[in-house]
């Protein structure tokens, strides 16, 4: 039977390279190839390999983040069934108190958000230290930065939706910081809030962002990110690449992906366990006229910039903002600055700088956590 040769040359022995025709994978491949000219893609998938080395575990981080995102979409859809943006606090209260297992779904949604950001931090730093951003993978890295920014914005917007006093005041603090940005700060803050103050209108805007615009954009960027990885293959760290060819071990790509599934399932169980041990509570309804509760803090993933900004009060604000703004700027420039494979002196310095940054971020986060 002929495989569709339009747009791409299909070699004579193509059929022999496919899995046997009586196996499900073989049948699926033939089904697709007879209709769609995707031979190069399938050929690539057959050859694709994942390096096996001491740091292979880090290759699972990205997939884990995607798993958490899928959980967020599923639990988010479920929550949307009962959440009402016009009555945010009451509808969330109904979810946790009246809807069967509503408290569980909500807790899972909360924990999955936190774990997603945590694992993205691990993913970010592991790809940084393994220097996976180097050419030809610059755009994988850039889309990744975009995905991180989207995820944190999703976290920020979702946090406000329950409209309890913690949500309200944390959002007020966050938008307040945004307002302090030079030139466009006040304008951005007004658009975000839908006015000079945070009201139910703000909830409407954040709801639209959180359930539609941001997830849609994220899925688009994620699609690009994954496409780049598929067509370029998994990067090999310098220590692995330096080994003689006969010593290098690889997983077949399909085996690796299937092996990721138990890890994802474990993360799912972890979410349920965290929801059992540390369920998400609902604080009293937001009262815009009441004073902020003592010790109001943003969520842990915003503690680092928050703490930095606290160090530069008053007129020194811009210094703090510039400093925190340096980090995303440096991240974006990184793949164009560190290009050498294997890493040269500049590459090594960059690794050390990154390590120092990691230590700083951790310290400031802990400091922010401990301070009142």
């Amino acid at each position: 039977m002929e495989l569709d040769p339009r747009f791409a040359d299909v070699p004579e022995d193509a059929e022999q390279q496919l899995p046997p025709s009586d196996k499900p994978t073989g049948m699926a491949a033939r089904f697709v190839l007879r209709r769609f000219p995707v031979w190069p893609l399938i050929a690539w998938m057959l050859k694709k390999k994942v390096p096996v080395h001491r740091h292979s575990i880090w290759y699972t981080m990205g997939g884990a983040a995607m798993f958490f995102f899928i959980v967020q979409v599923v639990t988010g859809i479920l929550l949307m069934i009962y959440y009402k943006p016009g009555q945010p606090w009451q509808s969330v209260q109904r979810i946790v108190m009246e809807v069967p297992f509503g408290a569980l779904i909500r807790s899972v949604h909360h924990w999955s958000a936190n774990l997603m950001i945590l694992i993205l931090a691990l993913h970010f730093f592991s790809t940084f230290f393994m220097k996976a951003y180097r050419a030809p993978r610059e755009f994988t890295w850039l889309t990744g930065i975009g995905l991180l920014a989207l995820t944190m914005t999703l976290g920020f917007s979702g946090y406000m939706l329950p409209w309890d006093d913690v949500a309200f005041f944390a959002s007020r603090v966050g938008i307040g910081e945004l307002e302090k940005s030079p030139l466009i700060g006040p304008l951005l803050a007004d658009i975000a809030r839908g006015g000079p103050d945070i009201t139910l209108d703000t909830v409407g805007r954040f709801f639209m962002l959180h359930v539609f615009l941001l997830p849609l954009t994220l899925m688009g960027l994620l699609g690009l990110h994954l496409f780049f990885i598929q067509v370029q293959g998994v990067s090999e760290p310098d220590s692995f690449a330096a080994q003689p060819p006969e010593k290098k071990r690889y997983h077949k790509f399909w085996e690796f992906m299937v092996g990721e599934i138990p890890i994802w399932l474990f993360l799912g169980v972890l979410l349920v366990a965290l929801s059992a041990l540390l369920p998400r509570t609902l604080e009293p309804e937001a009262d815009p006229f009441a004073p902020a509760p003592l010790g109001i803090k943003p969520e842990w993933y915003f503690l680092f910039p928050f703490q930095v900004l606290k160090l530069f009060p008053g007129s020194l604000e811009f210094v703090g903002m510039a400093l925190t703004g340096l980090i995303p700027a440096a991240a974006v420039m990184l793949p164009f600055v560190d290009r050498s494979v294997p890493a040269d002196q500049r590459g090594k310095m960059i690794s050390r700088a990154g390590f120092a940054l990691l230590v700083v971020i951790l310290s400031f986060t802990i400091w922010g956590w401990l301070s009142k």
């Binding site: 479920l78 069934i81 009246e98 809807v99 069967p100 297992f101 509503g102 569980l104 779904i105």
Partner: protein, 158 residues
């Protein structure tokens, strides 16, 4: 040849094993999916009549139906109702859900009407004109300590 038969036999037993495993997996996954299924299933409306068979009328006080011709819409449990005093002085209470398409009916002096499709009921709840196919469900109105309650009544025959 015999090796091939062995292989087929092994394949068959492996397939059966996997099938059993598949069934067991479905059972386990079903147990794990149970919370989600319960979550999305409609929440049954609670019975408005409490343990003593009586539901408090919300939004209507005895003063609202002091004189014949007075009537008001209110609620009991999670349902709507109309309460009124007929020209002959007797009080009436009817569940407000129109039997046509479920809109809430309104008291209109000497009759009850549904604004959705123009259905009309008399003050006994009987459907007299328009699309409604059945009478409104009557309720027994009682007053205790100045508060209105309703109790269940067996439905009228249409």
């Amino acid at each position: 040849m015999s090796e091939h038969n062995e292989q087929t036999a092994a394949n068959k037993s492996r397939r059966r094993f996997l099938a059993l495993t598949g069934v067991a997996t479905v059972v386990w996954v079903g147990a794990a999916a149970y919370p989600v299924i319960r979550y999305i299933s409609p929440i049954p409306a609670p019975d408005p009549f409490g343990e003593d068979g009586r539901a408090k009328v919300e939004g209507i006080v005895p003063a609202d139906i002091l004189k014949p011709g007075m009537g008001k819409s209110g609620a009991y449990g999670s349902r709507g109702l109309v309460v009124f005093r007929r020209p002959d002085g007797t009080t009436g209470a009817l569940d407000a859900k129109c039997t046509h398409a479920g809109c809430n009916v309104t008291f209109a002096g000497d009759h009850i009407e549904c604004h959705c499709h123009g259905g009309l009921y008399d003050l006994t709840g009987k459907n007299v004109s328009g699309p409604p196919p059945k009478p409104l469900t009557p309720l027994k109105l009682v007053e205790a300590d100045g508060v209105l309650y309703v109790e269940r009544v067996k439905p009228l025959k249409a």
